[in-house]
Symmetry: C2
Subunit: 293 residues, 2 copies
């Protein structure tokens, strides 16, 4: 979920490279998060391995638009990767398909069932999955009537014991929107800003006993969505007044009364990018450190 | 899914008994179906064991309104069971809760996470979970755009490789409705009728790439829903004309061209019962053998 300041992956060696954008979905339940870690099953690790298999190259480096923690899901994650051009062009073999089509069906054959690559696109090197992104949209799924819990959704739904006041949660969520220092809701990291623009935060009831939150921001710092949800859940439960979340925000320091909600209710739904001709300018802007006016 | 002709469970021994209705949901993925079988993990087996644990009695016998095969899910299954009245009354311990409330929260504590008992109700012995039922409603979930498959729904969604024609499927499904001999879509069983009233069968697209079927009948014989879905999917794929399913029905014998669809797309959504004062009459009627007029 955080976006640490590591550089974009360089083009692969001295061979001509082609930049590929992959749109993907995964069930985070059995992954130790996005980022590759030795000895652990991660989405990045599985995807790199799958790409290496279909391209018959070393697993290529990936840049992702939204890193997710262990247990967090995605329906709209985006990565870019620079792959060997000759390996890419030879993907369709003797078929008349485009390499991107061939990549998609071959990846489906080698990836585990909890990762689906939904689209593969050749993009210009102006496109950077992380720095070109304008905003990210997450969802958070709660069940507040345990007796109505759907066992088929237990992997992506967090159960809370008593009914939540959706209206109070929306009032509180709305007060958090805008350009703010979200230090109160972020795990602090040396030298990194916690200033973000929360562009939208709202709750609705799609069915009885279920509450779905939507959170949109230009970027999120680590554990930010889960802490924002925890703050408004305390209000929905009547443990805090609707104004409390905004007061916590204004204090700009972590409040132990804010619960960081479990990972499995969270899903990265979408990463939004500008039109192609604005990509270069956007990446330069996103690399600049955010400041409050 | 079938309802074999076994008798309703008798009241427990000579002790005074109370009849309990339980409404339940389960993720069928890791069960060998509903019906208890030695050495296999089944919904009935787990639920009986859970009831025995909270009541501190032998696991009581259960009568279910809709038996499901291995891998089939439920959101609205219903069982009845006759339990020892003294054990039931002592459930709340020293609390001031009703036994049904206490049963619900204790069951939540002892059942595995893939079974949720949603409601526990004391009912009259006129209520029979199987024979009082007026109709059953099942859903079947398909994804016909594999690249859009949601890995979080892979346990309850069957992927078909090419786009389906929803309109043609609805035309075909509609032609199957009514009182018919469904022998063409049933696994034959000695001495059992295959005459049923298919009250509704329709398809809709809740989101891009997803098709959800709804099937309602007074009762279903074994594998009937999955065979009905297989017949209309062949039409949706353009492999058969829309009139083909009705022709298969009229032939009244199993057609090997009808594919019995995979279990995991199927979910028992609801069992519908008459108002309390009509329960006795309904059970008598349901026990009678159906005949075509």
């Amino acid at each position: 979920m955080s976006e640490p300041d590591r550089p974009a992956a360089p083009p692969a060696g001295n061979e001509p490279a082609v930049r590929i954008r992959l749109d993907l979905a995964y069930d985070g339940t059995e992954f130790s998060g996005w980022a590759a870690q030795p000895g652990l099953r991660t989405v990045e690790g599985e995807l790199r391995r799958g790409l290496g298999t279909i391209l018959r190259t070393e697993p290529p480096r990936l840049v992702v638009g939204g890193r997710t923690d262990a247990g967090v899901h995605a329906r709209g994650s985006v990565v870019h990767t620079d792959v060997d051009a000759a390996a890419w062009e030879s993907l369709p073999g003797r078929s008349d398909r485009a390499p991107a089509q061939a990549a998609l069906s071959r990846l489906a054959g080698v990836l585990p069932p909890d990762i689906v690559v939904r689209r593969a696109t050749v993009v210009s090197t102006d496109f950077d999955a992380r720095f070109s992104a304008l905003r990210r949209r997450y969802s958070y799924r709660l069940c507040d009537r345990p007796a109505l819990a759907d066992p088929l959704r237990r992997r992506d739904t967090v159960i809370v014991p008593r009914p939540l006041d959706c209206e109070a949660m929306n009032t509180a969520a709305d007060m958090l929107c805008g350009l703010h220092d979200f230090a109160a809701f972020c795990r602090p990291r040396e030298g990194a800003t916690t200033i973000r623009t929360l562009e939208g935060f709202s709750w609705q009831r799609p069915t009885e006993g279920v509450l779905e939150g939507t959170v949109v921001a230009d970027a999120f710092c680590h554990s930010m969505v889960r802490a924002l949800v925890g703050a408004v859940v305390a209000i929905g439960q009547g443990r805090q007044e609707p104004g409390w979340a905004a007061a916590v925000l204004a204090a700009r320091r972590r409040d132990p009364a804010v619960m960081v909600m479990p990972a499995h209710g969270l899903c990265l739904e979408e990463i939004i990018y500008p039109p192609t001709h604005e990509l270069g300018a956007r990446a330069t802007q996103a690399r600049a450190v955010r400041e409050l006016p």
